[in-house]
Symmetry: T
Subunit: 71 residues, 12 copies
């Protein structure tokens, strides 16, 4: 049966955690096929000069694998 692999990425955005999540998914999608879903496991933000300059989304991305590369 199919096996799913789960990797952890941290995406960033100046605007929102949704966009930070989309950026992480987009980056993964350039090399990983068959992404099924994403889970948001952490939300932080960078503050500079008293203002938030970057939202950071810690996400787990799940995708179907033919072979487990990584060895």
């Amino acid at each position: 049966m199919a096996v799913v692999k789960v990797i952890e990425l941290i995406g960033a955005s100046p605007n929102s955690w949704e966009e930070a999540t989309r950026n992480a998914v987009a980056k993964a999608a350039r090399t990983v096929r068959n992404i099924e879903g994403v889970e948001l496991v952490g939300q932080t933000a960078v503050v500079e000069g008293g203002r938030i300059t970057q939202y950071r989304a810690d996400v787990k991305i799940a995708f179907v694998v033919e072979e487990v590369t990584e060895g």
Copy 2:
């Protein structure tokens, strides 16, 4: 004294976790009165073709009850 009941729903939205949460609250509000608040306990997203197509918000909704139905 009043007793509060807590139920768990998962709302969905193509746009954001806020909208997914609002959709869950709106659905509950059609049949449940006296909703007091909501807690976001999980955030996931469905990915299709390398893009997020649905944000899903796992929420706990609290509302005052006259009687505990459910039996």
Copy 3:
């Protein structure tokens, strides 16, 4: 075999978390039969004028069900 259902309620009391828990159980027992036990999963209190006016007990109540109503 019998199936147990678990619901979450928040009981309140001006005096103690035990009484808040008893109030949640009493409310449930008016409509739910066969309650077996309760687990306390959260304890908060409301403060007004610098004094606690209400203890709140977040409880999970387990009871045997003939049929799962809820649909």
Copy 4:
């Protein structure tokens, strides 16, 4: 959009946690339509005379709802 409801049941079986989970799902399926999935959140067992007589599976069952009954 569709909203999913999540309820918590504890199924039992003399044989395994898989069967206990199946029993909880089967009971729910008698009255709840559109069950999508189940998450196992707790595993215990009853012991009598030094032997396990009952496996108990604490599960969360998710199903699509037209209306949130429960109010």
Copy 5:
């Protein structure tokens, strides 16, 4: 070496958890210098009349301190 202090605030907004977080950071920045970052540790919302009227973001804010005031 520099020491970082971490305080917990709950910001609010009628629109989103991002704005609620920004509001907490902005309030802190009026009196606290050298804020480095923020972690979102809880997300709730207030519901009135069946609609969300306030998003609440429970955040931990970290900032470099010369001296630990608080004593």
Copy 6:
């Protein structure tokens, strides 16, 4: 919008965790205005000579702030 600050105290009592919580709230209320609520996050007890001599309640106290002092 108003911002809420959350501080952590440990109250003590020879009698109960409720009284230990009340003592922590009373101490905070001498200098902090606008306390809204308290969450009990830990319960321990000191034992001397085989008997409990002190109940200790680890509590988070939330209060509305005009300005975030602490800097």
Copy 7:
């Protein structure tokens, strides 16, 4: 240096979690010397006929040991 051992007991009482905790400590103190403290790690209650008949306190008890018996 001294080593502390930590054991887990569940005490019971018809009246309160404080008394259930005291009962666990009292039982331990009959055979264990040098108990230093106790941490409450779980609170449940048994319900019969719609009423709580027993409060149960899951506690961790810490005591100084000369030798680690248990082997």
Copy 8:
């Protein structure tokens, strides 16, 4: 009132986590009377040559005690 003691064991089996749990219970039952139940708190497996050779069940076993031995 009766006091329950909770001990932690790790049972093993070449076949399943259920059997690993039964093995832990069976071992405990040779010297411990009045076991009431078991909670599964961890599940691991040993892998050799690319195959699982041993399922390991980390369990908490609860039993009624006359006296707390352990001192």
Copy 9:
């Protein structure tokens, strides 16, 4: 000294979580050498037509690495 890498996979099986775990390990073993062990960190199941059609085991697989590929 040797370094161990930990990856996360989700295996599936129509029969049990043990078989789902074995399937994940088997898939990994086709390309990864020196697997030492596996930890089960999540258990879910897919339900179709009121019956479980697939058990899913979320596992962490640990293996000794010569070099950390992944860059």
Copy 10:
């Protein structure tokens, strides 16, 4: 009775988490009297050029207070 306040600091050191913890305590001790203890709640490190340049210890520091300043 005395009330204990708990604050959260992050200390740093080029050498170890123990030293990072000591640095946090030393900084606090310059302005806070009656520190009783510290709990280590997080351990991270900064990496530059493939080497750890700073250990960071996230600690909770508890101290007895006469008055709760903070308001």
Copy 11:
């Protein structure tokens, strides 16, 4: 098959958490054979006069048992 027992100890040291852990293991090894491993589950320190005087390591120690003594 062999069964492993897990006990919890708190070791202390004036110098480091590693030494505190070694002290706990050394104490256990005087009466317990076949210790396989140890897991660090908590790290605290005692502070006196603004300085750390004792590191305390809360550890779980696992060892193979012939018979489960403890009864």
Copy 12:
């Protein structure tokens, strides 16, 4: 924007968890560029003959990626 990848390694050392962490980072740095930081998420030790022979540090290592390899 840049995306950060997070991988999990377990480093080992005969001396300390700091050295075990450094060993994991050093191994990763041989093939992974742009490591930003590391989080310690687990601490265990191997015991042989009643003495600790190996400290093991379970770490999450974060590094900036141009492309997500892994597919």
